[in-house]
Symmetry: C2
Subunit: 241 residues, 2 copies
C-alpha cells in the first residue's frame, strides 16, 4: 500500500483534482457537477472528504452548492483569482500569453509601489532581510538557489512596506516569477543577469529614496517583460518552422 510522497490530505487531493478541472475548463461555468454521492464514488473517497473539498472550492468562489440542485460552477468573475491555488491551477498547463501579460501587469501595479513604500518606511531589520536576500542571489550557484533567493528578495520588499495587505499579494508575484522562470529565454544561460537591477532597488530602499526605488523596480519588471517577449518570438518562429 504505497502512497505518493508529496502527501496531501485526502480532501486536498480531491480539491486539487476538481479545482483543476474547473479552472482548466473541463467543466464550464453554469454547469452543475454530478451529485456528491456519484462524485465521491468516482473519486474513490467518502462523501465526507468530498464535501470538505467542495466547501473549500466554494470558499474560493469556484462553485456554489444549493440543496436540491447541486454544485454549480460559478462565472469566472466570482472566482477568487488572487488565491494561490487558483493561480497555480491556471498555470498547471502552459499558461496562455494573455494570462502572462496580466501577471506582468499586476507586478507593474504592485511592485513599484511596494518598493517606494518600502523605501519610505523600512525598518533596519526589514532592510537587513532584503540585503540578505540580495546577497543570497549574488552567491547563488544554481538556478534553484537563485530562484529561491529571488522570491525571498521580492517577498522581503513587500514585507518592508509594513502593509500586510500588500504582502498578501506575494502569491501573485510568486506565480508571475514562477512562470517567468519557466518561460524565460535567459534563465538557462545566464540566470543572474538581473542582479544589478535588484541592487539598484536595494540601494534605493537603503537610502530611503522612494521614487528611485519605484523606477528601479519598474525598470526591472519592464526588462523581464521584454525578455519574455523575446522568448515568445523565438517560440513562435520555432513553432512555425
Amino acid at each position: 500500500m504505497r502512497k505518493p510522497i508529496a502527501v496531501r490530505s485526502l480532501y486536498g487531493h480531491v480539491m486539487h483534482e476538481l479545482g483543476q478541472r474547473i479552472v482548466g475548463g473541463k467543466v464550464k461555468p453554469g454547469e452543475v457537477l454530478p451529485r456528491e454521492e456519484t462524485l465521491a464514488e468516482s473519486l474513490q473517497v467518502s462523501r465526507t472528504a468530498l464535501r470538505e473539498a467542495l466547501k473549500v472550492l466554494s470558499a474560493k468562489g469556484l462553485i456554489e452548492s444549493r440543496t436540491g440542485v447541486g454544485a454549480r460552477v460559478l462565472e469566472k468573475r466570482h472566482w477568487n483569482q488572487l488565491d494561490a491555488d487558483v493561480l497555480a491551477w491556471r498555470c498547471a498547463s502552459m499558461p496562455t500569453d494573455d494570462f502572462v501579460d496580466k501577471l506582468v501587469e499586476m507586478r507593474e501595479v504592485i511592485e513599484p509601489a511596494a518598493a517606494a513604500n518600502a523605501a519610505r518606511r523600512r525598518s533596519t531589520e526589514q532592510l537587513a532581510a532584503i540585503d540578505a536576500a540580495y546577497r543570497a542571489m549574488d552567491a547563488a550557484q544554481t538556478l534553484d538557489e537563485w530562484t529561491a533567493a529571488d522570491l525571498q528578495f521580492h517577498d522581503a520588499v513587500l514585507h518592508a512596506t509594513g502593509n500586510e495587505l500588500l504582502q498578501s499579494l506575494f502569491s501573485v508575484v510568486e506565480t508571475a516569477l514562477g512562470t517567468f522562470f519557466t518561460l524565460s529565454a535567459r534563465t538557462a544561460g545566464n540566470f543572474k543577469y538581473s542582479l544589478p537591477q535588484h541592487q539598484k532597488v536595494l540601494e534605493a530602499i537603503r537610502r530611503k529614496q522612494p521614487e528611485v526605488a519605484r523606477k528601479a523596480m519598474h525598470a526591472m519588471i519592464a526588462d523581464s517583460q521584454a525578455n519574455l517577449q523575446h522568448s515568445r518570438g523565438r517560440a513562435r518562429k520555432k513553432a512555425s518552422a
Copy 2:
C-alpha cells in the same frame, strides 16, 4: 456595516464566529483551539458542521489542523489578508486608524493604476457600465443609493481594465469604501460631494487619457483620505473633551 446575507448556513455561522474570534484577537496566534468535540458542543453544532467551518478557516490561512495536536492559530503573516471575510472580520469592530491607513494605501496602489489601464483598454460596453454607475450616483436620493452606485462605479473601473486579477482586488476597495462611509464626516451632510471627482475619472476614461485618469483617481483618494483625517481629528477632540 451592511449585512450581506440575512440567513446563513449553520457552518457559515460557525465559521464567522470562529473567524471573528481569531481575527479579533480573542485567540492569539500560536494558541490551539479546544478539541473539535468540545468546540462543537459549545457552539451547539455537530462535529460535521464544525469541521467544515474549520476547513474553510484553514483555507483562509487562519488555522492549521494537525492530527494529535489540534487546530493551531497561525501567525498573521499566513492569513489570507485579501479575503473578503477576513477583511470584514477586521472591520467587525471599529477598525483601528492603522488598518484604515493601510486600506487607503491599497486604494492608492490599485485604483489609479486601474483607472489608467481602463482608459487605455476599455471597451464601449465597459465605458457604458462606468457611465451608468456615474449617472446612478448623480441620481441618488439616499445615502444607500449613493453607496451602492459608488461601489458599482469603482467595480466598473476595475472591470474595464480587462484584467480579472485586478478586479479581484475589489474586495479591498469595497472594504475601504465601507469603512469610509462609516467613519467619514461628510457622508451624513453632503454625501455627493465627490461626484465631480468621479466625473473627471469617467471623462478621462471616456477620452482614453490614461495619465489624466490616473491623476483624477489619485486626487479622489487623496481627498477622501483628507476627509478621514478631518473626522478623526473631530473624534479625538470629542473623546478628550
